[in-house]
Symmetry: C2
Amino acid sequence: MFIVENVKDIREIVKREKRDGKKIGFVPTMGYLHEGHLSLIRRAKEENDFVVVSVFVNPTQFCAGEDFETYPRSLERDSKLAQSAGADILFNPSAKEMYPNGYKTDVVVNEITDKLCGASRPGHFKGVTTVVCKFFNIVQPDRAYFGQKDAQQVVVIEQMVKDLNMDLEIVPCPIVREEDGLALSSRNTYLNEKERKAGLILSKSLFAAKDMIENGERDAIKIKDFIIKNISNEPMANIDYVEVVSAENLEDIKKLQGDVLIALAVKIGKTRLIDNIRIKIS
Amino acid sequence: MFIVENVKDIREIVKREKRDGKKIGFVPTMGYLHEGHLSLIRRAKEENDFVVVSVFVNPTQFCAGEDFETYPRSLERDSKLAQSAGADILFNPSAKEMYPNGYKTDVVVNEITDKLCGASRPGHFKGVTTVVCKFFNIVQPDRAYFGQKDAQQVVVIEQMVKDLNMDLEIVPCPIVREEDGLALSSRNTYLNEKERKAGLILSKSLFAAKDMIENGERDAIKIKDFIIKNISNEPMANIDYVEVVSAENLEDIKKLQGDVLIALAVKIGKTRLIDNIRIKIS
């Protein structure tokens, strides 16, 4: 596996592979890779001939007061893990390489970026769509892999790809969880032992809601209220949002039907965690 | 030459050509082709193996109260002219094909879109960059050709391509003029005989300013004032703007040096005309 830092270099390498008829899989990450990322890389390797993993803590998707400075970083660790999972290239550009002096352009997906995480993180998705658009143009992958943990991100990226006629396939991949249910996240490293335990309330509430639905509950408000009540019982937890929406367009629903997304964001101490489940109701 | 209406079809055709190693030239237009457009198509044909011309009167780049409804259209005329100039494909999508129900995404170049035409046509350049981004993703050209008459558009498109790491070359091409100096424009068809004559004041003022500069004038304000005075002498003319800026970044300049753009927009009756000259000062 090679580590590449320049747009020009990665472009040349990928073009050579594409000329040989190889299919390119791409996994964009902010690094500090965990088993969730690795599952994306493995899947990309299974489905493509050549896999590019980007590691870039994108400054423009952090809002004021967020954890850009402290976000965990370790290129050495990431490069070992990415290689072990099957990456052929690790693309690790500098912020200056991505946003040189005089940079002026944004890619904006409207409406669906105003709710859920978008409501509490203004500008976040504009940063995400812009950097992902750039990566897609640089890497020109056949398929790009995103974790379903960032459920809204997946919907937003799919919308961008469709709207801007980008010629690639987005492959959403299942959430990977610790044995006790906690969804994997690079931000889990922020949690101390007590917070780590308290953080279980996210997945526990979602799983309990799933049980309710499997037992016939179809009222979105009841599901939402149940989860809010459940999480509120955890003294260390502060709810940012709990939403029951259509998994396809993130629109609010009253009655559960079709493809349903239950998504939530909760602060445990200073750490903001997100989690979700997606349920198909026939 | 084939006329293609669907994204899927044009993409298949272009991919087949690219697989054969052919270079793709692209000329995006709003149709009602004139000699200016044809010069772009001929140049594209000279420099590439396969030329796609799009004809699409893009609704999103017209502002409220502008001439979207009345903008001249004639596919029959355009297809004959495009073919005669060497186009291999004329891409003529519907608005619904380009912006299907639920469309949500914009590409925005900031700052340089706020001045000149951007100041009097709010949202215009957002419409332009978004549709051009879409066309680039659909056609995946090696080179795209734009007329220098829309000088600001060229600068904005070049900025977008650079910022979003789009993998193609932008080729700006010289303004084509009538014998008497009037810059070609599909909107010239709006002018009656008197207005047509009055419209000459744009190019005449620019050429006179060029003479001043060639005779040593380096004061941008003097040039600007001279042009404004000149145009104000034409009773049918109403100035929208006259600007003397850097041709590279559209920033205001006081002293003429380097690559200078003198750009103006003037209403003759109800018709808004634009024109410009670019002068390199060593």
